[in-house]
């Protein structure tokens, strides 16, 4: 029991304990953040470059098709007129054939009481 009077409190070392080392010591593996970021950016830039080229080509094809359609508009109109005329003549001859027993019937006579030209708004099928 001698130690009771010569008592010495167990104290931290002067200046306190050093901070607890809780950081894990793991080896650095793989590429750094900057490398990964620039690599991904490079891949994306390449991808968008290819996408841009492809879309440019697609738009060029679309433009070409639009202009080729515009350029053959006169031909398409002429074909349409020829077709409409053929159909009109056929309808006229059909009408003549059907109404041949009806005296006083004029096939192809205008329904309007006027000599003004009216373009056909319907295509006879």
């Amino acid at each position: 029991m001698s130690g009771f009077h010569g008592f010495r409190q167990d104290m931290p070392p002067p200046g306190g304990y050093e901070p607890i080392k809780y950081k894990r010591n793991l080896p650095v593996r793989g590429f750094g953040g900057a490398v990964v970021f620039s690599a991904v950016t490079a891949i994306c830039v390449f991808g968008f470059w290819r996408v841009g080229k492809a879309n440019g080509e697609k738009r060029e094809l679309k433009r070409e098709q639009a202009w080729s359609r515009i350029n053959i508009v006169p031909l398409l109109l002429a074909e349409q007129d020829r077709d409409a005329y053929r159909r009109q003549q056929a309808a006229l001859s059909r009408e003549k054939e059907i109404m041949k027993d009806y005296p006083g019937w004029e096939a192809g006579k205008s329904a309007y009481n006027s000599s003004r030209y009216t373009p056909n708004t319907i295509v006879v099928l």
Binding site: C44, R50, G52, N55, K58
Partner: protein, 333 residues
């Protein structure tokens, strides 16, 4: 004539559906074998050669088992929930093209349809958890629903970027637009975001909280057994295969192959190419399960709402900006 065409349509659907169900069955054996290989085990190897017939043995076992329904359960919803899950994950296949023109419906809004159908699938989870009248199932379904709804936003944003890149909702058009380059190259960050949210959407590791075996017994289908459990199981694996196919279609050119192979053979190489790409992503799903530990629930939600979603929205702004800035919009007249 109408009866004949109806039968013909039915046949068409069956031609897609039966191989899909077979693929889903084999997905389960792939998962078990790959996991086993990664953990240096043999895995199932008794039924058939190398255990390839194991899924059929499992299915047979589950079919002949007794279905136990809890006494306080809402029986109609209890039975309806697995059916909803399975049917809506199978319906997603209606717009998937397996080759040029090889699709049940070449729907102009195909990708939107897929999103809508996968959203309805959440109801199966919700009904299952609520109707069983069990706290485990209920907690599992709450978690699962919150998770699926949250990650759907991210998934939708990633898909939106692909839609912006192509200017079309049609899946065939999206595939055709990748003839120049697969979208995984220009949209690499979007692909990563998409795949992570696909993992969460299908309740797979590291986001498999709904069925956290160590905490919640089995999540929302704790009380389901026998045949209706098979439905849940099939529905889940079906949505895994569907998500893998969607990843292949949206980012890896779908059925298109590199010009290395020329498709002039009698065999339809396009379907095989799509199948191979799908297998790759199915393998990735399993690989993730073998590698990653489960996330904690708050971490999952924080990761979605403060991590993934801002990135996804930033990408939604960035990609069209690039298209406009460099004048490479595909659909400008």
């Amino acid at each position: 004539m109408t009866i004949l065409s109806t039968l013909y349509n039915l046949l068409e659907v069956l031609i897609v559906l039966v191989p899909i169900l077979l693929a889903v069955a084999f997905m389960t054996i792939i998962e078990r074998k790959v996991l086993a290989a990664m953990q240096r085990r043999v895995g199932p190897n008794k039924v058939g050669y190398y255990g390839v017939l194991q899924p059929f043995a499992d299915a047979l076992k589950l079919v002949v088992k007794e279905t136990v329904v809890p006494a306080q359960a809402t029986v109609s919803l209890f039975y309806l929930a697995p059916v909803i899950t399975l049917v809506f994950s199978l319906l997603g296949w209606a717009v998937i093209p397996f080759g040029a023109g090889l699709t049940i419906s070449d729907f102009p809004l195909g990708i939107l349809y897929t999103l809508a159908i996968s959203s309805i699938g959440v109801y199966g989870v919700l009904f299952a958890g609520w109707s069983a009248n069990s706290k485990y199932a209920f907690l599992g379904s709450l978690r699962s629903t919150a998770q699926m709804i949250s990650y759907e936003l991210v998934l939708g944003s990633a898909i939106l970027i692909v839609i912006i890149m192509t200017g079309s909702f049609n899946i065939t058009t999206i595939i055709e637009n990748q003839e120049a380059i697969w979208f995984v190259v220009p949209l690499l960050p979007v692909f990563i975001v998409f795949f992570i949210s696909a993992l969460a959407e299908t309740n797979r590791t590291p986001f498999d909280l709904p069925e956290a075996e160590s905490e919640l017994v089995a999540g929302f289908f704790t009380e389901h057994s026998g045949m209706i459990f098979v439905f849940f199981f099939l529905g889940e694996y079906c949505s895994i295969v569907l998500m893998s196919t969607l990843t292949a279609i949206l980012f890896f050119g779908g059925y298109n192959m590199p010009e290395l192979f020329i498709n002039d053979t009698f065999v339809n190489l396009q379907s095989i190419v799509l199948g191979l790409k799908t297998c790759l992503f199915c393998f990735l799903f399993v690989w993730f399960r073998a590698t990653l530990p489960r996330m904690r629930y708050d971490g999952l939600m924080v990761f979605c709402w403060t991590g993934m979603l801002p990135i996804a929205i930033a990408l939604v702004v960035l990609v069209p900006s690039i298209l406009v800035a460099f004048d490479i919009i595909p659909y400008q007249n």
